[in-house]
């Protein structure tokens, strides 16, 4: 047996691709978990079709999972995969364009029969027609080896075939020197109820690993050592999970019961699923009859003194617009989570986009301001959710929390916070009348504002003496009774706008990343583009460019120092997964000549695209 060399890599980008039914997401997630436990830094990018089972073997049905693991701090799943594991011809064809010369391709050769090739649209077999000459290709009979090892355990070939993704996982686990114990333990636990499947998966995993060791097919074996993380305890979580936990934590810190009113929609449903699992926190999840009832029930819960939250995506946000207006008018705490996906209409239901910013900002009739908070990485969804709750409760306002399909399903190691370190949020319920008439009688005025925050009192039913009526009709300043008076309406419109603008007093200034201190160009990103932008900026710097970077969490209001910061730079570059929405807002707000870098392909930016755009703006500088 040939002893393969063990080479050390700083990082590697793997992409698992196969049919929707091939279990690629599971395979990728397992590889990720093992690497996280091993101590690598990592970032993932799941990429799956909108159809649950698109026609097998076709390009439309390809499901992929990309992960970058590294021995240093990274923030994206990588621009180009170093290794593509293709379970079938469609998986190869759909992803080949992502690879650069010299990449490694591992194919399940058993799936490259004439029929499957034709389904994927290949006239010739790419494995033999020379088109893959610039890559290193390994042909591994994954299906037949898997059925072979399963046969001994009495598993029927048709069932055994389903375990081939574990064979692939075993093989790459060997290739990248991943520990196998935790995957074995996971298989035992996950499939405990179906012993036959458990046995098949365990055997397939083992066979894949052993194949690497004994087949003498591979010239080298690699390792990616652990990354130097700050000490602490970590969990690998998706953005949707982080967001759900952030809501639970914030509700607990505010001593409010959490109520989620939601209607299932991709890619937001996992937040509903996660929250539904945690009734032990007193969380009430309500799967409503439609998107409108989702938000309406949350408004009802908030009116009753709970923390009302609704989650949605894409068209769901459109449907909630009227109710958001009601929450603005009632001035009631509410968090609306929008996991952005490609639009308009049904658009690209499973793909990332950031094109809801202007909708969040302006998508209601009337002057209807709402604060907007975004999350910048999967783990950061926790902080963003917490911040949205803080603003909603403190200012008695609906808050739009924007994440996206990439953040929702992507993962990264997350430093687990100590619950005691999380700030307390004070709901400060009204408890007594707050107004005395000239004749000395006491009243409760629901729109008597706090002079500092302009927030109105929150007075859920149940307190004698505070009975009051609220509504979507314009209210008299202070007393809150119905008022059609034009001057009062103007005053109330200003008060609502001033209240939201005043949130700036409690949000931190932006921290500019400008190591040289004399950059000419600042890149202004927002939300989930953080990883790609930071990496692209770092690359530009490595090429001698002087570039500053700021990533915005607060989109409305903007942080107080943003205008000053932007004015210090000759060039402002704004990369966004839309047609230039933030750049419009920045131009309008600060009269800066922002250059938009737009991408609308349903995938995140690549760092290289950011670096290239920086080069374009700076030219030969």
């Amino acid at each position: 047996m040939k002893q393969q060399d063990l080479s050390t890599l700083d990082s590697v980008v793997l992409r698992f691709a196969g049919d929707s039914g091939d279990g690629m997401q599971l395979t990728g997630e397992r590889f990720t978990s093992v690497s996280a436990l091993f101590g690598n830094d990592l970032a993932t990018l799941p990429d799956y079709p909108a159809e649950i089972r698109a026609p097998a073997g076709t390009l439309a049905g390809v499901s992929s999972f990309q992960v970058q693991i590294s021995n240093h701090d990274i923030s994206t799943a990588g621009d180009t995969p170093n290794v593509l594991v293709a379970m079938n011809p469609a998986g190869l064809r759909a992803n080949i364009g992502l690879l650069e010369r010299g990449a490694t391709i591992i194919v399940n050769i058993d799936a490259f029969d004439e029929r499957s090739l034709a389904k994927a649209g290949y006239d010739e077999n790419p494995l033999s027609d020379g088109t893959l000459g610039q890559f290193t290709v390994y042909e591994v009979p994954m299906t037949s080896l898997t059925t072979e090892v399963c046969k001994e355990a009495g598993v029927k070939p048709r069932d055994a075939e389903r375990s081939k993704n574990f064979f692939a996982l075993g093989l790459v686990s060997w290739l990248y020197s991943r520990p196998i114990e935790s995957t074995n333990a996971w298989i035992e636990k996950r499939f405990a109820k179906v012993p036959m499947v458990l046995e098949a998966n365990r055997r397939a995993f083992r066979a894949g690993y052993d194949f690497g060791e004994t087949a003498e097919l591979f010239d080298a074996r690699y390792e990616v050592t652990a990354a130097p993380f700050p000490s602490g305890e970590y969990a690998n979580i998706t953005g949707n999970t982080a967001l759900a936990w952030g809501l639970i934590a914030a509700a607990q810190k505010a001593s409010l019961p959490l109520f989620l009113g939601s209607y299932p929609i991709t890619p937001a449903s996992d937040i509903l699923h996660e929250l539904a699992k945690h009734k032990e926190f007193g969380v009430r999840t309500f799967q409503a009859e439609d998107e409108i009832a989702g938000i309406a029930s949350a408004i009802g819960a908030s009116y009753g003194g709970a923390l009302g939250v609704t989650t949605t995506s894409g068209p769901g946000l459109d449907l909630k617009s009227e109710a958001i207006g009601l929450a603005i008018s009632l001035e009631i705490p509410l968090v609306i989570v929008d996991v952005q996906r490609g639009g308009p209409s049904t658009g690209l239901p499973t793909k990332v986009e950031q094109a809801d910013l202007l909708h969040a900002m302006y998508g209601r009739h009337g002057e209807a301001p709402v604060p907007i908070v975004s999350a910048i990485t999967p783990g950061d969804c926790f902080n963003a959710a917490f911040e949205a709750v803080r603003i909603a409760v403190t200012y008695r306002t609906p808050v739009l929390l924007l994440t996206d399909a990439y953040l929702a399903n992507g993962t990264e190691p997350w430093l687990i916070p100590h619950p005691d370190d999380l700030p307390v949020v004070d709901p400060h319920f009204a408890s007594a009348p707050n107004h005395v008439d000239d004749d000395g009688t006491e009243h409760f005025w629901p729109f008597q504002r706090d002079p500092e925050t302009l927030a109105r009192p929150w007075a859920p039913p149940g307190v004698p003496g505070l009975e009051h009526r609220l509504g979507g009709l314009e209210k008299a300043d202070g007393a809150g009774t119905v008022s059609y008076d034009g001057r009062n309406h103007e005053k109330m419109s200003h008060l609502r706008a001033d209240k939201v603008a005043g949130i700036v007093a409690t949000i931190p200034d932006v921290e500019v990343d400008d190591p040289s201190g004399d950059a000419d160009l600042i890149v202004v990103g927002w939300g989930g583009t953080y990883g790609a932008v930071a990496t692209g900026v770092a690359r530009a710097r490595a090429n001698g460019k002087k570039v500053a970077h700021v990533q915005l969490r607060h989109l409305h209001p903007f942080p107080g120092n943003l205008g000053d910061v932007l004015s210090r730079y000759a060039h402002v570059l704004v990369p966004e997964l839309n047609l230039g929405q933030l750049s419009k807002l920045l131009r309008a707000e600060y009269l800066v000549n922002a250059t938009s870098l737009s991408k609308m392909q349903g995938v995140p930016f690549r760092a290289a695209e950011i670096a290239a755009a920086i080069d374009d703006v700076l030219g030969g500088q």
């Binding site: 305890e233 969990a235 639970i248 309406a296 709970a306 999380l422 505070l466």
Partner: protein, 340 residues
């Protein structure tokens, strides 16, 4: 929660200081008066009572009640009330709606609130017209209705609110009308006492845009002949001389017929408590067109699991199984590792 006795109140305590702004002569006034007078008898507290409404003339109702109240958006009151009732099972939640609000723009929320059996009391003021928008036909307007939006007659077949509610398997469904305060109060009292979602359809006169829509059946002179009073356990008979009765057909439907000594034994005896909603549905189909004898009273009153209570019970069950939620363990629930 307070455990002291509910304070003794009068109508005045339940009336807000807001000027009532319905058109003079509108049926809404008599419904408001009936409710304000009934409230002191219901054994509830003002601070624990909430009126939730959508949009329309009826929806102004909460402003006039000296309780907690919220006037929301068109059609959504049942959904908002659902969230409120789930979050606050201790409250008495009333929903005030109209035929357009509840059956057109908000039809979806209405049927789902009813099928879930969430603990809310829905009063549906049916005037068979859009009042606040100045007189377009509504989902309960009779076919051929000439209005501003249907100058040569409406084409839609109307909804019967009771049929719809029974079809959604609502656990309490009743009908009353704005000309009979005692009956209104009795129906609302029973609807409020019912645990779960209850719906009371109130025939309400819009004297401006659809005057006398129910005159033919609810006016003092017509009531005797045209109203079929449903009373649990009693034979369903009506008519000035009680000369008519309701009979069950072999196909499951019901008809009215003159009672004779031959058929007297077969007059249908009303039973509000039958699990199967078919009988209540058949009774609601007696009045297919206007000016036909119309049943009033409780069509259906069955007990079933209340939604908010079940939701609370799941929380209690999970807490006793898993212990009270603990953030530190939540954050580790998907596995974790330590970096030294």
């Amino acid at each position: 929660m307070t455990t002291t006795a509910v304070p003794v109140t009068t109508r005045k305590d339940w009336s807000s200081d807001q000027e009532v702004r319905w058109c003079p002569g509108c049926g809404d006034y008599s419904i408001l008066a009936a409710v304000q007078m009934l409230m002191p008898d219901l054994g509830v507290r003002r601070e624990s009572t909430v009126f939730v409404s959508g949009i329309g003339c009826a929806a102004r109702f909460p402003y006039y009640m000296n309780t907690y109240g919220v006037h929301t958006i068109h059609g959504r009151a049942p959904a908002i009330a659902t969230g409120l009732a789930m979050a606050r099972p201790d409250l008495d939640v009333f929903v005030i709606s109209g035929d357009g609000d509840a059956l057109s723009i908000g039809g979806n929320h209405l049927i789902h609130a009813l099928r879930r059996n969430i603990n809310i009391t829905i009063l549906l003021f049916n005037n068979r017209i859009y009042g606040l928008t100045k007189g377009q036909y509504s989902p309960t307007s009779e076919r051929g209705k000439v209005t501003k939006s249907t100058p040569v007659g409406s084409l839609d077949r109307p909804f019967d609110p009771v049929s719809l509610a029974v079809g959604a398997e609502a656990t309490f469904v009743a009908r009353t009308h704005d000309m009979d305060r005692a009956h209104m109060q009795e129906m609302i009292r029973r609807a409020h006492a019912h645990r779960g979602a209850s719906l009371v359809e109130v025939y309400q006169n819009c004297n401006v845009f659809n005057d006398a829509a129910f005159e033919g059946i609810t006016s003092k002179e017509n009531r005797g002949a045209m109203l079929i009073q449903l009373r649990h356990g009693e034979a369903i008979r009506f008519g000035a001389e009680n000369e008519f009765g309701v009979f069950r057909l072999p196909d499951g439907g019901v008809v009215t017929d003159r009672v004779t000594s031959d058929n007297e034994a077969h007059v249908l005896v009303h039973n509000e408590h039958v699990e199967d909603p078919s009988l209540a549905f058949s009774l609601s189909r007696l009045t297919i067109s206007d000016h036909e004898p119309t049943p009033m009273g409780v069509f259906r009153d069955v007990s079933s699991v209340e939604y908010g209570e079940s939701a609370s019970a799941q929380i209690v069950q999970q807490q006793s199984e898993k212990g009270l939620g603990d953030l530190a363990s939540l954050f580790r629930s998907n596995g974790s590792w330590t970096v030294k």
